[in-house]
């Protein structure tokens, strides 16, 4: 096995990060440059948003349900079983809703974008697009970024709600708790900081999902093998970065939003 020089390895990684930042900045800058491909944005919003709805609903429901189940076990020991609603609500809204929804969407869409764009690169369709006078960044990348950020925001809201429904199902059917009390506690416990945190995360994660997927796709090289590699790398990178950013964002918001 050939050993790679650590300097070369480090330089390559830093170069990739630089290229990614440049790529993302370009994608955002295109929002202020004509032409605007609104039809493509709407189409992507449909594919990414509506297309991911089933998986997001399922994820939300089962996450909420298992949260309630696990929580009940612990809360019962302290005689606080009625707090299930609060626990499911704050966990889903602040953390699990945004993160798990983003991971599911990353798995589905980040890899999808990488494989679609990667296939276009290796079959010279991107070159053909440039030859025909269209900027592939404006036509392909920016619409995907906008659509993902926009739709992930709403998908997270849906996931949070369905998660609460999942928690309710367990609370009512297994734990024999009162549904109205569950909903009241779930609603009442939420404060602005919780909702703000829970909704700023999908915006950031959506940006990560789309830019990572498109970045790996547009830089795919080496035929079908290259496309396969790009697809896997996109999914892995997007997932890892989402988890890392989650920690950063949570800490930052906790420090700045005066949590009590």
């Amino acid at each position: 096995m050939e050993l790679v020089s650590p300097t070369y390895f480090a330089k390559e990684k830093i170069q990739t990060v630089q290229d990614y930042v440049e790529f993302s900045a370009h994608a955002v800058a295109n929002l202020f440059r004509k032409p605007f491909y609104l039809a493509d944005m709407l189409q992507q919003a449909d594919l990414i948003g509506v297309g991911s709805l089933p998986i997001v609903v399922l994820t939300g429901f089962f996450t909420g349900a298992v949260l309630a189940l696990q929580a009940s076990n612990t809360l019962e020991r302290f005689g606080s079983i009625t707090l299930v609603g609060q626990l499911v609500s704050t966990s889903m809204v602040r953390e699990l809703g945004p993160v798990l929804t983003s991971l599911m969407v990353a798995g589905r869409n980040s890899s999808g974008m990488a494989s679609e764009l990667g296939s276009m690169v290796v079959t010279e369709q991107i070159d053909a697009m440039r030859a025909l006078g269209t900027d592939p960044m404006k036509k392909l990348v920016t619409p995907r970024v906008v659509a993902t950020v926009f739709m992930l925001f709403f998908l997270t809201i849906i996931s949070d709600l369905i998660g609460l429904v999942g928690g309710l199902a367990i609370a009512k059917l297994l734990l024999r708790l009162d549904a109205r009390q569950y909903w009241y506690n779930a609603w009442e416990t939420l404060v602005f900081q919780d909702v703000f945190m829970g909704l700023i995360k999908p915006v950031i994660f959506g940006f990560i999902i789309a830019t990572i997927g498109c970045f790996y796709g547009m830089n795919a090289r080496g035929g079908t093998q290259g496309v396969g590699r790009a697809t896997t790398q996109a999914m892995v990178a997007a997932s890892v970065i989402i988890l890392a950013m989650d920690l950063l964002v949570t800490r930052l918001l906790m420090a700045t939003l005066a949590y009590h």
Binding site: A131, G133, T134
Partner: protein, 282 residues
């Protein structure tokens, strides 16, 4: 094989300044990592001329087309296309220049998510936004030129290799470009289909006097083009009378290890003393 005549509008081209070459390459060099693919490439393509570029696989032929289109930048040297120095142009400016250039890619590079109609109309749709009757008329016209009007609503996956190549040619021709770049237009095709493609290229050359750079590994295609012309009366490709081969604006260029080892017409190629070239064309 006969093909439908082009509408009158296509045959009356406004002649641009014919003295300036369509393409000028001056000492162009390009390397990928340690691999120096092109070294000191210098040539010119006159207006209305077709230049067939040959070389073994990996000799950098396709890169010359991509350099001419500004899809990649050279490491050094100067490239002037249709009077504009590419090194002075940003990507946005290149889009304006590319409106006058048509390129046919090696594997056609049709957009998978669009059907034939949308592929061919692509550039016009980007400019006008709406697929109206005018665009439809031009799409049908150019598909008729390549004899594929019946494939309007098909997807690229439903077409054969030869049909995809012809649709790619139609897509390149729809804006009546001044310069055409062909990357192995007959690569991977059977002899009959290859002949169809060559006829289209000859028709385009003789009827519209478009300048063209044709990258190919098939000598027989280039010899066909050098010894035939388009008969407008009967709408088919016919052999040139003997002794008239020099009247066809076709030249040959051969690349070897990143350098040009031959650049001249059919006569010069036939009388070359270079052993490598003689072996290459035998």
């Amino acid at each position: 094989m006969s093909a439908p005549a082009l509408p009158l509008g296509h045959t009356e081209r406004i002649k641009e300044d014919n003295s300036a070459p369509a393409i000028i390459f001056e000492d162009v060099a390009l390397a990928f990592g340690d691999n120096q693919v092109l070294r000191e490439i210098s040539f010119q393509l006159a207006r209305g001329e077709t230049k067939a570029v040959f070389g073994v696989a990996g000799s950098g032929k396709s890169l010359i087309l991509k350099l001419a289109l500004g899809l990649i930048r050279p490491d050094s040297g100067r490239i002037v296309v249709l009077g504009q120095d590419l090194s002075d142009l940003r990507e946005e400016d290149l889009f304006v220049l590319r409106a006058k250039i048509g390129m046919v890619f090696q594997e056609s590079a049709l957009f998978d998510s669009l059907n034939v109609r949308e592929n061919v109309a692509y550039r016009l749709m980007e400019e006008h936004g709406i697929y109206d009757d005018d665009i439809d008329k031009r799409v049908r016209e150019v598909l008729r030129f390549v004899e594929l009007e019946h494939t309007l609503d098909l997807d690229p996956a439903e077409l054969s290799g030869g049909m995809r190549r012809r649709v790619a040619i139609a897509r390149a021709l729809i804006t009546q470009p001044e310069l055409l770049l062909y990357d192995s237009p007959t690569g991977g095709l059977d002899p009959v289909t290859s002949n169809t493609i060559i006829e289209l290229i000859v028709k385009q050359r003789d009827v519209n006097q478009t300048s063209a750079l044709l990258v190919t590994h098939r000598l027989q295609d280039a010899f066909s083009m050098a010894t035939h012309q388009w008969d407008r009366q009967n709408n088919r490709m016919v052999p040139l009378p003997p002794g008239q081969h020099c009247q066809v604006p076709l030249s040959f260029m051969i690349l070897r290890e990143g350098k040009i080892i031959f650049d001249g017409d059919l006569q010069a190629l036939a009388h070359t003393e270079d052993e490598y070239i003689k072996e290459y064309i035998s």
